[in-house]
Symmetry: C2
Subunit: 285 residues, 2 copies
Amino acid sequence: MTADLSGRLIAIDWGTSRLRARLLDGNARVLAETASDRGIGTLSGGHEAIFEETVAAWPAVPAIMAGMIGSRQGWREAPYVPCPATPAAIAAAIKPFTTASGRPVAIVPGLVLDAPARDGDVIRGEETQLIGLLEQEPAFAGIAVLPGTHSKWARVEGRAIVSFQSFMSGELFELLSRTSFLRHSVAAQATGDLSAAPDFTLAVRRVSEGLPFAASLFSVRTRYLLANAPPDANLAYLSGLVIGGEIAAARDLGLLTKGTPVRIVGATALAAGLVTLARHLGFIS
Amino acid sequence: MTADLSGRLIAIDWGTSRLRARLLDGNARVLAETASDRGIGTLSGGHEAIFEETVAAWPAVPAIMAGMIGSRQGWREAPYVPCPATPAAIAAAIKPFTTASGRPVAIVPGLVLDAPARDGDVIRGEETQLIGLLEQEPAFAGIAVLPGTHSKWARVEGRAIVSFQSFMSGELFELLSRTSFLRHSVAAQATGDLSAAPDFTLAVRRVSEGLPFAASLFSVRTRYLLANAPPDANLAYLSGLVIGGEIAAARDLGLLTKGTPVRIVGATALAAGLVTLARHLGFIS
């Protein structure tokens, strides 16, 4: 007896620091999942062996993956697709291949933006989350914010990803809170949701209402020194400065205007995007 | 025969990472100098012993010092003097003491600014450089920029330090160029003067003419990836973004307006400031 594998798919988010694989059924429900810290930043080759090891316990269904695995340092380079880009255009740029074990595999390309004022911009992985957003809300026109180590603000319109702007906010926060001299003025670790703290809101308001981001950072030290700000509240304050800096920049760039619909797109949208692309490729029906 | 020590002075810049001591004659000329990496950030107590060791070869003249040595983690805390502050007011706040060996010693206090929009600001060491500037240009009215790990922009007017704004530019540049993911896109070390590179100027112009600092950082990666920017030119570009961010913030804060005189104040002004304060204290005539 053979299992009916129709519609099953392996969907993989393979980034710089993490590898997350899911076995999905024909309705994109998660049947099994696994994760490891074998991100492409930790590897020098050997991607196929790690892939096979990761999915060894699952049926031999097609696999589709997004993220830095398609970069020059990844398994196979999937060259950037230019913006504006529709899900169909992204799917058409994918070149599926077959592993030594005979399994069909696809790596999703990133997007490149021609932005002369800052010598262009690129994303890898987030395009698939945005396809997931478009799957859920095909008519969405507005700004999609994708938080993360390198957060992205994307303009979505006419069922296409029109443009985007990258930030380093997540990494900046890590560097400032753990490595810079500010580490002596903030808690080593967050207790609970930083964005729920009043000091987070205060910092976001200050930086988005006139205190320039670059001029705000030293105040994390001063608050600790002069006002005895508790370390956990001060960590929330620092987080608010970084997020406030991102929001103020997005507003100054015209990304955030009154009345523009905004969606926060999380990692869960990635699986939906991979399923859409797998359908375009004929991996599933 | 005893040497005539009249007017001689030991002037010390004792900061977080470095200790620099100079033996000066009555005309503030350097007779001898020594430096070590025994900054207060590397010590837990024992400051007097290190001081005695540092000056052991020199005559037993009074010593005056500025920098983090006056902080809570230093030798003796010299509490902050509020702004606006004149050199005389700063001198009046100094409480000289005598070492076990009988030498008169003075530690210069830092300044505190009541700046509610960012919970205050502080400096330690730079107040003495600013006193040096006022010694050289008593009538100066304008903005003094003090580059460094934590750079400062100070408003000087009426022979007083009126206000100031701290930045983390030097430290930010180090973190971004050596620790962040941008390190893969820039040279590990500067070859020559970064600010002389065309890409430095380009970056300063972009950030001071509309590209928000927080939105500019990722482009260091993109330039390397898409435009094959040479690592040394790209390091200059990153430096220009950070400096541009500081300049744009200073302008947005109203510190940099058309026609305002600006002075760049370097470390050499510190010795001049220490001599002025030593005169106020009667250490020298």
